[in-house]
């Protein structure tokens, strides 16, 4: 039997209950994260990338409702697990790094407390052992004076340092799956480069798989092995990173790539995608992207495209995929 995927999601649908009725935020999302892989998920705000990750972690709260045919972590079904069982998984088998390093640490507890808490909760060890491991973790994520920082409160640390602490907490129990939700968006570009390098180094010598959520294609190009592109709650393209950046077939992916400002190219008029992301309240019929798509045709307005295989491991949901038209 071949090696099991770290995470396997099938037909994830997420709804929000509102006064105006049930709104669908994520539609039939299926994907896998292979063992040791870094999967990038790209999309604009509101495309459903963050709620999907919350749903996988079992952290989606009312009014959000997640329904899935199956969510398997290391081959084990987790979509029907109770709250208590999910709690045991979170922090040990799967962990998450959030976007805001300023708000995701508890200001009332020391850095050390927050790391050793995670360790004590999931591993059978004494206080002293937990402390030693916590300090070792702090050193591993490149925090200077780890012993002193252990007793500091979060307010004593800068944004980059806090994000390092978050990474230390997330990786403290060597989880199988790490979900990083825009981990560097709030940081300066120089600090971002440091954090990305740290994450790369840390996963190199562990078999942790990472789901890396971001809206920055530059970051994806630097980090990911494989990329999912989401638009308005649906997966529109999925490919390995080389194929996606050099041979994308979905007009949305192409638009995203073209509107990214490239620092190493001479400037001119920027290409942009006209229009705005549709609101959940009035999703366009057919392909959700058709009102903004430069190549839209009559049938795009009626038929919702299914995800289909274009090349080996390359999937796209488009009725008229581009061929060699980008560049």
């Amino acid at each position: 039997m071949e090696e099991k995927a770290t995470l396997e999601v099938q037909n994830l649908n997420i709804y929000f209950k509102t006064v105006g009725g049930r709104l669908q935020a994520v539609r039939n999302l299926s994907f896998q994260v292979e063992s040791g892989e870094l999967l990038g998920i790209v999309g604009e705000s509101g495309c459903g990338k963050s709620v999907s990750s919350l749903a996988i972690m079992g952290l989606l709260e009312f009014p959000g409702i997640a329904e899935a045919d199956s969510i398997k972590l290391m081959g084990e079904e987790i979509s029907h697990k109770s709250k208590e069982e999910m709690r045991k998984l979170r922090g040990s088998q799967m962990a998450m790094i959030f976007q805001e390093p300023m708000t995701s640490l508890n200001p009332l507890f020391t850095i050390g407390d927050q790391i050793s808490d995670t360790i004590k909760l999931h591993q059978n060890c004494s206080k002293q052992e937990a402390k030693e491991r916590a300090i070792a973790m702090l050193k591993k994520v490149g925090i200077p004076r780890a012993e002193a920082v252990y007793h500091d409160y979060p307010n004593a640390l800068s944004g980059g340092m806090r994000q390092r602490v978050m990474i230390a907490i997330a990786l403290a129990n060597s989880p199988k799956l790490l979900i990083a939700d825009e981990p560097t968006t709030a940081l300066d570009v120089t600090i971002q480069a440091q954090i990305l390098e740290l994450m790369r180094d840390l996963i190199k010598d562990s078999n942790t798989s990472i789901m890396f959520i971001t809206h920055d294609l530059g970051v994806v190009a630097e980090m990911a092995d494989r990329v999912l592109v989401m638009y308005a709650g649906s997966l529109v393209e999925q490919a390995d990173v080389m194929t996606l950046f050099h041979n994308c077939v979905h007009p949305y992916t192409q638009g995203l790539l073209n509107s990214t400002i490239k620092v190493h190219q001479t400037s001119g008029e920027l290409n942009c995608i006209e229009g705005v992301v549709p609101s959940l309240k009035d999703m366009p019929s057919g392909c959700a992207f058709h009102p903004r798509c430069p190549y839209a045709q009559e049938d795009c307005k009626q038929i919702r495209p299914e995800l289909r295989e274009i090349g080996k491991g390359h999937y796209a949901a488009c009725l008229h995929p581009l061929e060699g038209r980008n560049k």
Binding site: T190, G218, V241, I261, C272, I273, V276
Partner: protein
């Protein structure tokens, strides 16, 4: 009293004339210090000051864009706010069309203000949620009593909405009904309302999605051509700044470290900090993944309340020598139009352009 009135009248006269001097805006040795600590009364001996902007000088020509980049906390926004006098300077001079404006009285400043406007970073908090789009855009026109009749005001607001690409029927809506990009368009229309000569854009696209960023940047470029505007474009991302700027100033801990034409700065950065900033930008091409990362800035930005001695960058600099910790480097022109403050400027800095 009469004196005051005549000064205001003089200014009004001056700004109604076309200006043909070399620089639209000239900033000389601008300083802005914030008193830190919780002491209630000023005590010159004991008080600590955060030097948010410390001796910054630059010029902006009419129709040009100056980009200001730097990490958060380097003082780039404070510089913008001090120029437009949302903050009062500690020391220095700001000359707009040759007129010193940083020490004008409130009445005198009212005459200058229509010429300098601002676009803010966060389109979610810079628009009053209780005002309709029409009133938001009309507010500067009403404040400065530009329009003589209601119909003129209406026509002017609606044509501003056309200019920034908002549909006219949106005039009666409230800001919450719009997406981030559209809100930023409202902010731009408001800034344009008084036909300013200079617009200070404080991170106008950082809060927007990639595809929308491109729309807003293109709009700003179009408006610049149409109205011969000058921009001061403040951002933390080098790619954005590169796209819009003619010249770029790099700030570090309250001071300028390098100032040059855009192409020159990207081709051959002279300051190690600029080089590090350039190297840190992720390149959206996986094929180039391994070729870079030779220069990386270590560590965090030091606290501006207690900046390092000598060259402020020496604690993070890969080329740091003994002298760097002792002596403050001079701000000098090493090539025509290319200024840098570094003891050992790079000769073949690793630019990103080939």
């Amino acid at each position: 009293m009469a004196d005051k009135k005549s000064r205001v009248a003089q200014l009004r006269e001056k700004f109604s004339q076309p200006y043909d001097g070399e620089y639209l805006l000239e900033v000389r040795h601008l300083k802005k210090y914030f008193r830190s600590g919780s002491r209630l009364f000023v005590n010159k001996k004991k008080d600590q000051y955060v030097r948010a902007v410390d001796d910054v000088s630059f010029t902006v020509k009419a129709g040009q864009t100056l980009g200001i980049v730097g990490e958060s906390g380097c003082g780039k926004s404070t510089t913008g706010n001090t120029i437009i006098r949302l903050l009062e300077k500690t020391d220095g001079e700001v000359l707009f069309e040759g007129q010193e404006i940083s020490s004008l009285s409130k009445e005198e400043m009212d005459v200058v203000r229509p010429n300098i406007q601002m676009i803010f970073q966060d389109p979610y908090s810079s628009l009053n949620p209780r005002m309709r789009v029409f009133d938001i855009i009309a507010e500067p026109l009403r404040t400065h009593k530009v329009c003589s009749s209601q119909s003129e005001l209406q026509e002017r607001v609606l044509s501003l909405m056309d200019v920034v690409g908002l549909q006219r029927d949106y005039a009666g809506r409230y800001p919450h009904e719009f997406s981030g990009g559209q809100r930023q368009r409202i902010g731009i229309a408001r800034a344009l309302a008084l036909r300013p000569k200079l617009i200070i854009c404080d991170e106008p696209v950082s809060a927007l999605d990639v595809s929308i960023q491109a729309q807003v940047l293109n709009l700003l470029a179009k408006l610049q051509k149409e109205f011969n505007l000058s921009y001061i474009f403040i951002a933390h991302g080098l790619p954005t700044v590169k796209h819009v700027s003619d010249r770029i100033a790099v700030m570090y801990l309250g001071q300028l470290v390098e100032l040059a034409d855009t192409e020159e700065l990207f081709d051959s950065p002279c300051h190690p900090y600029t080089e590090g900033l350039l190297a840190a930008v992720p390149i959206p091409d996986p094929a180039l993944r391994k070729e870079r990362r030779s220069v990386q800035l270590k560590g965090d930005l030091p606290s501006p309340a207690n900046p390092p001695s000598g060259c402020r960058f020496h604690t993070r600099c890969a080329y740091c020598q003994e002298i760097c910790a002792k002596e403050v480097p001079q701000w000098r022109e090493i090539r025509p139009g290319h200024f840098v403050s570094c003891h050992f400027p790079l000769e073949n800095g690793q630019g990103i352009l080939e």
